[in-house]
Amino acid sequence: MITIAFFKAAIIAGTPLLFATLGEIITEKSGHLNLGVEGMMLMGAIIGFQVGYSTNSPLLALLFAAIAGAFGALIYAFLTVSLRANQVVSGLALTIFGTGFAGFVGKSLVGMKMTDEFNYFFRDLKIPGLGDIPYLGEILFNHDIFVYLGYVTAIILGLYLYNTGKGLNLRAIGENPAAADAASIPITKYKYLHILLGGALCGLGGAYLSLAYVPVWQENITAGRGWIAVALVIFAGWNPYKAIIGAFLFGGLDIIGFRLQGTAIAISQYVFDMAPYVATIVILVIVSFRKSKKNAPPKALSEPYFREER
């Protein structure tokens, strides 16, 4: 039953992954491996839901979801940039913290639902012109506003990284902070800003689940999608454009099992659950064989930078 409905559903399933992946790409480009994606997504999801539930304003909900994600990232940034703590441990701690935080804040909201007025904001909107293209229009350009925000964010991030001076500075910091420092790029400021931006995007990814996709609050609503995003960063070769394809591909893998159940092709859902990780490993192997610089991680990734040790 691979139909237009399936591809459309794959885009929706991929959108939270896309936001989280973009957030992690921008974070890692600054040389910081933040494994707290899952935690930041949950923080964004619950704060977005809480604000949306009490104010009935979708825009405020989105804003606060981003702020909540950035707040999680701020804790991480303080630990790893200012205190130069171990990045892996700090990130894992953030995931655990975020999970607990969301569970705690959301205790009285479990099973609650937004008003119809609120949900109307996230209705499917057909883009004039583009939405009329046969097949593709229905699959790509007949979605809620959040999905379009995902497309736009990915393209803006791509342009920012590869076509602006500031983006070049950021990449330089991720590759060789000492050289960037010598070129008088304000390293700490850059790192903080981009880690916070990354957190905000992760928060939005979580909010997509709680505000537009499910949209009922359930504890642990992300159910491990943050980890898929971490794998997706590698799959996409730290490239925001490729992240679009990767996110929708992984989103499709997430739901394809349901479409195949009951058809002649009976592949267990477990196989598809494994697929994102297997694909990531395969990509890792290929990249390391080709020793290509294009899809390699930032060189200074997860190494704390001490100016005095230059």
Partner: protein
């Protein structure tokens, strides 16, 4: 000055220690009158589903027995060695009875129970039994059958979707009972099953429901712990049957009813019998007759006449004269597997691995 400070601090510490020690036994004496009971939960007490239902049962226990009991809970306990630690910790806190509410805790319960013969352990949905431990569960199938009646009367496309977690006998039994209920009022209808391989993933459960709706079903039933499937039905303007709790919050225009557990009925009875010393390690299997199983009140969305049809069968269940799995039952290929006049024994129900006629789906 430093020396004086050191001495002062030392004295404070010693005093603190003395105060701490002297208070502890007092508290102990207070609590001796109360029986302390531990609840090990797989999920969160506010999950609006499975664990929520158990916690409502705990609250009922506290209400009924008042001062005679004190309960402690531990939520989100994984089905790993971790739960052994949680149980040991509860024993250290003075718990005399421990309820563990998930199937996966089974072997750990057994191990801790054997190491602590003076404590009573009760495990939900398993099959272990020993001098100081046993298991409890019930025939939720009865309520599923009733909810099937509601769905069977409501459907217009004669296709009903069922979002199901894992293909274990507990879930399969539920699907069969539901389908028998559906076809008792609507022999044309079929039930399409979608496996999710998860108990708890709202987005995925919703996707599964959407995939079913894309195949033309107009009612979604579920054996899942979140409201994801309900929301999918609501968004498509279709209808739904919940599970574990009233889910009308999540889907006010779709939700019709839900099979419910009333764990309090068992918890009160079990704790009372332990207090009286009449407790035995006989496994507990509760039914609608015992008050352990119930159906949530039908909402306005439910079809006309459903209430009467449900009440008629429910009264028979409460009287103990209705058997969900009474023959003749046909399997998916149309062959009679349970002939007229016989039924599926409880033992066979607990190992059920086949679908009745009318179910569209496969057991891997």
């Amino acid at each position: 000055m430093k020396r004086v400070l050191t001495i002062l601090l030392s004295i404070t510490l010693v005093l603190a220690l003395a105060v701490g020690c002297s208070q502890a036994p007092d508290q102990g004496q207070d609590q001796q009158e109360k029986m302390k009971i531990g609840f090990v939960y797989i999920g969160s007490a506010t999950d609006a589903g499975y664990t929520y239902a158990h916690d409502q049962g705990r609250l009922m226990l506290e209400q009924e027995l008042g001062d005679r009991v004190e309960t402690v809970i531990k939520e989100n306990v994984p089905e790993t060695q971790e739960c052994e630690k949680v149980m040991t910790d509860m024993i250290d806190q003075g718990c005399k009875v421990i309820f563990a509410n998930s199937f996966g805790f089974q072997e750990y319960v057994k191990r801790v129970a054997e190491a602590n013969p003076e404590i009573i352990f009760l495990h939900c949905s398993g099959s272990i039994q020993g001098p100081n431990y046993s298991n409890y569960f019930g025939s939720i199938e009865e309520a599923r059958y009733l909810s099937g009646i509601v769905a069977g009367m409501k459907t217009q496309t004669n296709k009903i979707g069922y979002v199901a977690a894992y293909n274990i006998p507990e879930v399969i039994r539920g699907i069969n009972a539901f389908t028998l209920g559906v076809r008792s009022v609507n022999p044309e209808a079929v039930v399409k099953v979608m496996w999710t391989n998860t108990w708890f993933d709202p987005a995925k459960e919703k996707d599964a429901a959407v995939a079913l709706l894309d195949q033309g079903v107009d009612i979604i039933a579920q054996h899942q712990d979140t409201t994801g499937p309900q929301v999918a039905a609501e968004e498509r303007g279709c209808w739904s049957i919940g599970y574990n709790a009233d889910m009308s919050n999540a889907a006010p225009k779709a939700y019709m009813t839900a099979p419910l557990w009333n764990w309090g009925a068992y918890y009160v009875e079990a704790v009372k019998s332990i207090m009286d010393g009449t407790w035995t390690n006989e496994p507990y299997w509760g039914t609608m007759k015992d008050g352990l199983i119930d159906l949530a009140p039908l909402t306005e969305v439910a079809p006309e006449g459903a209430q009467e049809a449900v009440t008629k069968i429910q009264d028979q269940m409460k009287a103990g004269s209705f058997d969900v799995f009474a023959g003749p039952l046909k399997d998916q290929s149309g062959q009679v597997v349970v002939p007229e006049g016989s039924t599926v024994s409880l033992e066979d129900q607990l190992a059920m691995k086949w679908f009745v006629e009318g179910v569209e789906g496969k057991i891997d």
